[in-house]
Symmetry: D2
Subunit: 389 residues, 4 copies
């Protein structure tokens, strides 16, 4: 179901920074890129350990010459190849986002980058400016923005189905840091709780940013001020593992945001509810194929992906019929499809197809960094209301 005519455009040549052995998100990116068959995966700097990078390259079936020992070597190595990569996925810990993102942009390579985007808002702003200057595609993997029902929610709010937005309740609750597993060699836990690799936000940066992005993405509203409290329950833990926040949105809407990694019983409980003067919406990531919509004074409707009133191919790439659940990987794949469409449209000198506009942008990444900094500052000042913009 590719969005193309008689002559099939060539696939986008994709490289990767990070995602070597033991990583979680690197393989997810590669799978997502394969999903709709618009990428060829051809190069990588998978690990800061050269041998591990080489091994990863073999497992990925790539040319050994293109399994680089460092991302710097990869920038150099690819720059001069006739078949050089068109795009790069950056899937390293947060402290290794800015460097390669900047360098690849400067080398003329489109970028797909994990969040939080950088270590500081200033770095993020620099990337925004670089993207604007170079005109390249830059996507940020707020995966939840790839779910069809999230996009439908966004479209419904934009169409006025909820009236004026009044209240936004966002949460993202997990339990995996209930115990201090960062002290036991668990790799994810180790870097997520290490300020040197994650920056100033722990739970805040890892999942709080997702919830914040989702709330703004669906509601179409920007937060004007936040009052936050960051807490750390894991003994000796160096970053927050629980975040509570009040938000004031433009236009008078009020919000709350809770993110936690010590919420026993929650696995990956991301939920969003948006309430307006005429209607309300509820979505949760663990049952992503349903969107509950209520018009005031009517029974709630359960809209299902691909089913009645679920929108159409203007919001995503349909792959299977209604009732066949899609999940996280399909949402991730959708972001890659959106980026592919943006890149291909540039090649072809045309407007991208309609789904491509849903891809989270470098500006979204920058907003996430400002959110992190404002939340930390607010918490340090006892919940002082601060602007995250």
């Amino acid at each position: 179901m590719a969005q193309s005519g008689s002559a099939q455009p060539r696939r986008i040549r994709l490289g990767m920074v990070g995602g070597g052995p033991g990583a979680f998100i690197g393989p997810v990116h590669r799978l997502a890129a394969r999903m709709d068959d618009r990428y060829d995966f051809v190069a990588g700097a998978f690990s800061s350990d050269a041998e591990r990078s080489r091994q990863a390259g073999i497992l990925c079936h790539i040319d050994p010459a293109r399994a680089y020992p460092t991302w710097q070597a990869m920038v150099e190595g690819e720059r001069n190849r006739p078949d050089r990569i068109d795009a790069v996925a950056i899937v390293t810990p947060n402290n290794v986002h800015y460097g390669p993102a900047k360098a690849f942009l400067e080398a003329g390579v489109h970028v797909i980058c994990d969040k939080p985007l950088t270590m500081t808002a200033a770095e993020a702003t620099d990337l925004v400016q670089t993207v604007r200057r170079t005109g390249l595609v830059f996507g940020v993997t707020h995966t939840y923005a790839g779910y069809p029902m999230v996009r439908l929610a966004k479209a419904m709010v934009a169409a006025g189905d909820l009236g004026t937005i009044r209240v936004i309740q966002a949460e993202y609750a997990q339990s995996w840091l209930t115990e201090t597993i960062e002290t036991t060699g668990q790799k994810q836990a180790a870097w997520r709780t290490d300020p040197a690799q994650s920056g100033g936000g722990g739970c805040l940066g890892d999942i709080g940013t997702h919830a914040y992005h989702l709330a703004g993405y669906v509601s179409g509203l920007k937060a004007e001020a936040i009052s936050a409290e960051l807490s750390t329950f894991g003994e000796g833990r160096r970053l927050d593992d629980n975040v509570s926040m009040l938000l004031r949105y433009e236009g008078g809407a009020r919000g709350m945001l809770w993110a936690s990694q010590v919420a026993v019983g929650e696995i990956n409980g991301m939920r969003l509810r948006v309430f307006g003067s005429k209607g309300g919406l509820a979505w949760q990531q663990e049952q992503p194929n349903e969107l509950v919509f209520t018009r005031h004074g009517e029974p709630s409707r359960v809209i299902t992906r691909g089913g009645a009133a679920s929108g159409d191919s203007n919001i995503y790439v349909p792959r299977v019929p209604a009732g066949h659940p899609e999940g996280y990987l399909e949402a991730f794949g959708q972001l890659y499809a959106d980026a592919a469409e943006q890149i291909t449209a540039k090649w072809e000198g045309r407007e991208p197809g309609p789904t491509a506009r849903f891809l989270p942008t470098v500006e979204d990444g920058e907003a996430g960094m400002r959110f992190i900094e404002a939340a930390i500052a607010s918490s340090q000042q006892g919940g002082k209301w601060l602007s995250p913009r």
Copy 2:
């Protein structure tokens, strides 16, 4: 399944203040009192309109001489009867709680009173002192404290099943004030949004207090400080209809509380989640017969009323087997059963049975008033952290 031996004690003679024609909660109280057959309903001052009070008396099958035109007349009329009432239920708007509660206590009558308890914390404190002085039973109808699964949750926390409590998330969301129906003659809406009858809290007093009580009731923790934001979305509405709040509990636990009456799609969405170092609990009022409990590292368990691991008759009066859903009226009836048990035990000079200890107290009512006042003050001061105690 009364908690008595061979000689059945007489039923408690019950009167009522409020609950006349058109009222919602008065009939609920009467039904709740009948449920376990421990009360005789014999007297009332049902309305400030004498004729309406008389009519209500007829409908309730009570002696016309005991359908009083005012609560003051009722205090006087009952005082001198040999068969005078043992207990009175006060089911009027908030501004008519303190007066009759105080007067009946002084007349030696046990009291069951709606919440919020009074119009001011000072009045509430006076009732606390009066109760202590008179030694009478005083129950406050935080109905949700009557649900078996809420009591089980409280018992499990107290038994240490969750470890040290870390996070408490409470919410109570409704939609019935989405539009300004108080201007259309809807009686409930009219008094609930009228500061003269409701006091300074709208949504805050009506349902925010329930959520606050439930969080403290189950967790066993007291809030040390709250940072609140009260909002009003109904145009021209005089009291808040949406409440957002951060809470700091004794011992370091953190909480959030949301109450709203403009949340389209929510009907009576009261939910509580409590997370500790070892386990987590989740309960919601609209499916009250289930309690989800998770031990860290194990699958979640769905405990059902009357089913495996659901506790026993030490927490409530079992009326039907597991799987036969109980609801709001049974919870309400449980509070009446608890009050009856406390009163009967006083008559018999014995300790009350174990379920009676779960009845919300006059101190709970006082805490609710302090919560209301602290929340209003915090919101007026831009979310300043204030103690609700």
Copy 3:
């Protein structure tokens, strides 16, 4: 919220056969009768043990002279009292339904009787004829017919909201007889698995009849033929504990019915789904306040008791607002309210109010007995299609 005008009619004087110490359903009947305050409970033959019957009378606060040692004594004792009972509830094991039902009808007493109605279809037919001859009220406690959402479902089908009915899927699954607890002194299990007390159907009679009634009640269709298989998994058990059945309904609809008491994980899982040419409905007893309705080509709607599109007071007695869950006892109470309304209407020479028509009838009880006999015969003949009418 009684359905009366200025002069409140007197309460109905109610007696009971069965329901002594240790019984489950007797107290439920008494509570249900109290719920809407239209009955006075005044007499009983609670046990075949005279002393136990006397004790039960004390616990129920009734005149000791009216706590009879046998139901026969009760018929005689009440017959000549000026304040004799108006109605009797029969809550004994199945083998003690027909005798007292017949005798009280002949004595001019209205009857509310548990199901299955009798031990044989012939006895049931005799009761039908007796009811027709005497003109008395006779209600059968298919409790599920008291749930507002079941009544709404019935009304929606009758209104044509589903189009022509095509498929009816009914089930009632429990697990309480997974082990042979009838050998351990569990009283309920003992008589439910004893053919002498329960008749030829075990699970079939106890809960299969409920599912069968519900399917016909909501769909408005009569089964023309059934093909059944009865199984017994409990070792040494004398009656069926699992029932599987195909059904052919008038007009061409097809159905399935499953009833089980050995379904581990099911507590009281009664569910009904009805599908027509234009719409479908789904209801389950463990979440009785919701009815899911789907118009073909539209999203499913979740209709909640008291909420939007939930019908009105023409189908039940509203007691609490939407969102406050009602349960089994309220459904039971509704049947008592319906019977009370029918009785009172007779006294007053008027048509009963609209909700009263929803009370299951003696003809429903007779249909249940024919169903039991047809199912047993079909199973004995290897699933031969037989008429249950």
Copy 4:
């Protein structure tokens, strides 16, 4: 996370029969094959229209010389290539399964085939024998066998966690054929309701076979006899659209199976419940990441994919952490991973990894055909009990 050591084996060269423009399942197969990066998609006979086949080849980025006009041409064309396909996916309507399956097997090509396997049981038996003779891998895409929680259920039953199986309830309900859309040009509906393309079973073959397979797959039991009723509600429809069935399993277990394509409100409602003497399991396809397990006498546990007690990589290829929902495509991908593992293991002369044993076999396909024929015969004979073996 490939199951290999230091030298990565080459990818499997995959071809496809069917799956041209407008097809639903062909793209799903291709995506599933890409998912874990163990296949190269290189050849196809996508349509019986040569030009459409050629176009589909372009869209799939395959060598134009390998986009064949017919499957017969594909057998011939591939046979002599040094880089000929290793495996073929057959994704045509049912009447074009047997021919290419047989021919490719004879040409030494592994086969992955849709179900129902053939048009007759005799053809299926011939394929079984051909597979046994050639020693090739043959997978049948009962997709639901690829869900991790289904595999866990199968493993738990096999481990005795449920005790002796007593009752198996399977259903698969959809609504898409509620109206006779086969007369409106809907391609899927047209061939699914055409006996010439689908064989004797409509709903029975399309989804009834899935439910039947799932029940046997998880329970590990074979049905000994079935009593079926096939119905057709769509006016003028030539095949069944609703199937009701009783089943007797080896060892005395009893089952029911319902499949429908006229069940308004159901989208893709496949559900399985298995009950044993010690425990019970419930799974539903629309929420595939959860498996509810109950030990008798304990609360139900909700086991989630990747979470506590969810088994391990011995049952599937973990791709994302717990709480990130997987869906239909991942299940499909798992079947492709299993086939890849079986094929690679043959190349390498080793035992396949442990997940590969979960792939549905040609014998499963044969059992499905016998099921179809037995169900049709049983229905024609008024529900006569017949063996499906």
